[in-house]
């Protein structure tokens, strides 16, 4: 379906075709509204999760059943070793660029217009085009018959279609990033500033946008060299280390990309659960540029065999890699202090956030010593230790924090209450325990010297492969529970139309309160067009501010009953606050 659904020009005689099916098709191709676009991205993100997840389950099942070198049980059916390695490539590429990117974009494309109150996409055509290019590119990757993990293993030769597919997909991602930045700046008021979630998203998009340029250059270089397989001979085959530098300069922001998209939202979510302002709003904001600089410089730790001067490696590879733990630890500390002594409601979202923090700490702590201590690095390099690290960071941390917000976002987009919070808890347990088992098993194997990407291993490692298989299936079942919950919410959930989500008013009020407490509150600055109470305490609230749109954020100052109500975490009725909302609902396009 997706391969042929290239974007069509939207101006094809709209009026003359009163065909309902065609209109539905057209609206799937081209989303005008941000909500529609976000729903589309959620659907595709889940589709990628199922595709890439089935590749992963295939790998785990194969390894769980065999240590003999024969890929039981599917070899009987003509299943080849090459297919096994291809699935490994597709699992990684589709999980990163399909699941993580698409679900992350769905969250960001919903959160930014909602928080700012603009309720519209910045460059809708570019966002839609980018999305379809990614879909097309990833479909092409899966069809490309490539058996190599990504492109940085040059001069291993991939099929030409793989390089072209990656080119298409990265152009699509770059367009999505540009359109997201445009969405964050569209209709920007002169006195408007960005709240914490939007700031994180913009920082992240700038980092990723710069990073993708280098990998695009490397891919184009490859295509124009004899390695590309298209008959071009413009450049020589790229030097391995230069190519690797280009690849990792993109890929290090890439591994943080998903998590930074929701990090700001996670800060808000914690404050909302804690029902108090974040411990230090200013410190969280300081960490944004720090994370930007460090996430762009740690990539040199992958240049393990470069003959670059040791002091440069010391500065970038070692110190920067150790340093990036600092902003993360500071943010986690601030969040845990914020939660301290509060009695939050432990639903699936909060549990996912806490597990994500734990996953980030364990995954980060086990990766930190690698580069600074070659004595450890040369022991576990390219062993299962590394897949364990990446699963901690991507599955437990990044995807886990996505799930946390999706439990708020999806019912809002569908205008219904979540069908079963209990199923959400089951999803959390299955995902965290399942992925946790897989990650621990991988870590142990790594310490015991099991090389990754293998088809045969001594019996010593087999029990751990069995544990990883059981964990993977548990996680897979939990995702089915999540999907069922979403579908049931869609079809059978109690109608609960939300015009202004409570997390927006609550999060904004708590962020403002933090500013008031810290003395950084400026009444002339607005962060959203949606009227929200200024803060929690009504202490030094200045007079209503005439902003350029005439709707300052302080307009609702003093509505203390609304604050009390909103902090009960119940979705606010559309009629209650929606009537006061500044913008119109752009989602019903």
């Amino acid at each position: 379906m997706s391969a042929k659904s290239e974007p069509v020009a939207p101006e094809i005689e709209e009026e003359e075709v009163p065909n309902k099916a065609f209109n539905i098709f057209k609206s799937i191709i081209y989303s005008k509204g941000y909500k529609h676009f976000s729903i589309k991205l959620v659907c595709f993100g889940m589709m990628w999760l199922f595709i890439a997840g089935s590749f992963g389950l295939d790998l785990r099942t194969q390894s769980g059943f065999s240590f003999t070198g024969n890929l039981l049980p599917l070899q009987e059916l003509g299943y080849s070793t090459i297919a096994y390695f291809q699935m490994m490539t597709y699992h990684a590429v589709v999980m990163f660029f399909g699941t993580i990117f698409t679900l992350g974009f769905s969250i960001a494309y919903y959160a930014v217009p909602t928080i700012r109150g603009t309720k519209k996409l910045g460059m809708p055509w570019m966002a839609n085009l980018g999305h379809w290019l990614v879909v097309f590119g990833l479909m092409m990757v899966i069809g490309s018959n490539s058996q190599y993990m990504f492109t940085f293993l040059i001069p291993l030769k991939n099929p030409a279609s793989f390089y072209v597919a990656e080119l298409i997909q990265f152009v699509g991602d770059e367009l999505l990033i540009i359109a997201l930045i445009a969405t964050a700046y569209v209709d920007k008021l002169p006195n408007e500033k960005f709240s914490i979630p939007v700031s994180f998203i913009i920082m992240d998009c700038i980092a990723m946008g710069i990073g993708i340029i280098t990998v695009l250059g490397a891919i184009i270089w490859t295509i124009l060299s004899p390695l590309g397989g298209l008959g071009f001979d413009v450049f020589a085959i790229p030097n391995v280390e230069v190519f690797r530098a280009a690849f990792w300069f993109e890929s290090h922001p890439l591994v943080y990309f998903g998590s930074f998209l929701v990090l700001g939202l996670a800060v808000w979510m914690v404050t909302i659960y804690a029902k108090r302002p974040v411990y230090s709003e200013r410190m969280v904001r300081y960490m944004i540029p720090v994370l930007f600089v460090l996430s762009m410089s740690v990539y040199i730790h992958h240049m393990a065999v470069d003959p670059i001067p040791l002091w440069i490696r010391d500065v970038f590879a070692q110190v920067a890699t150790e340093m990036i733990a600092v902003p993360f630890v500071i943010i986690w500390t601030i969040l845990l202090i914020t939660l301290k002594y509060t009695k939050p409601k432990y639903d699936a979202s909060l549990l996912f956030i806490i597990a994500a923090i734990a996953g980030n700490i364990v995954g980060g702590a086990t990766a930190e010593p690698l580069q600074p201590i070659p004595a450890l690095d040369f022991t576990v390099h390219n062993t299962m230790w590394i897949p364990a690290h990446i699963h901690f960071m991507m599955a437990t941390f990044t995807l886990g924090s996505f799930f946390a917000f999706l439990y708020w976002m999806i019912p809002e987009l569908l205008g219904r209450k979540l069908y079963s919070p209990g199923l959400g808890i089951f999803h959390f347990i299955g995902w965290s325990v399942g992925m946790g088992a897989l990650e621990v098993a991988f870590k142990v194997q790594g310490i015991e010297g099991a090389v990754r990407r293998e088809i045969a291993w001594p019996a010593l490692y087999e029990p751990w492969f069995q544990m990883a298989m059981i964990g993977a299936w548990l996680a897979g079942i939990s995702v089915i529970a999540f999907t069922t919950n979403v579908l049931m919410t869609w079809r059978m959930g109690k109608p609960n139309p939300v015009s202004v989500p409570v997390w927006l008013t609550a999060g904004m009020a708590l962020e403002t309160q933090a500013k008031i407490n810290e003395g950084t509150y400026d009444p002339n600055v607005i962060y959203t067009r949606v009227p929200v109470p200024v803060g929690l305490k009504l202490a030094p609230v200045p007079a209503a501010t005439p902003s350029s749109s005439g709707r300052g954020s302080s307009r609702m100052a003093g509505v203390s009953r609304a604050i009390a109500k909103m902090l009960k975490l119940s979705r606010m009725r559309g009629s209650e606050l929606g009537a006061q909302a500044a913008g119109t609902d752009g989602g019903k396009s």
Binding site: G69, S80, T81, I82, F85, Q147, Y148, M149, L153, I154, P155, L156, N239, V240, E241, Y279, S280, M283, A304, V305, D306, P307, I308, P309, L310, D314, Q318, V319, E322, M323, A325, V326, V329, I330, T333, P372, I373, P374, A375, D377, F378, T379, H381, N382, T383, I447, E448, G449, V451, R452, R453, E454, I455, A456, P458, L460
Partner: protein
Amino acid sequence: MKKRNVLVAWTLILFLTVVVLEVVYTPYDYAGYQIANNVGEGVAQADYPPIQGPYQVVYVTCEQWQFLFSPHVVGAPTVTVVQAGVPVLFIVRSMDVTHGFYVNTEGNFATQGIQFGVMAVPGYTDFVTWNFQPTVFQGNQSLYHVMCSEYCGVTAQGLGHPWMDALIIVVPHGSAGVALQSKMLGGNLPEILNGSAS
């Protein structure tokens, strides 16, 4: 305590931890040979490890899909013999694509398994050193399994990355061991260099 002081103190503690880690571990950075089992990895063009005392040199050439040793056992270029107790400097190169030279006894904590490795990147000469200990001997020699740890392609069942492997035979230090080594290597012993003399 004021909130600002808490945060400043916490940031300083984290920062100091990083600095201390960096200072403490600096002796291990690319340091090459350490007294016990230890070693370094790196790029030959940048620096050889500062090995003190004598060490054996073994060249490893990686290609799809085999490791070729020099010197090697007569008739078997994927097997080499080294002495225990004398650090071995493996100088690793690749003829085609990126490989991983990974030595592994497939042990665990209980059985005192060891593993170490270095990447073989085309266009670069990389090294890794290891001092094979006499303590792990079973009989008069011990075997170490070499495998490729960087995925380098598969063409068919039985031909490709998963089947790219080699063997290191470690013989005891001393005249008996050297005699055995000499016999297996056809008299072509690894060059023994002296680190302090260079």
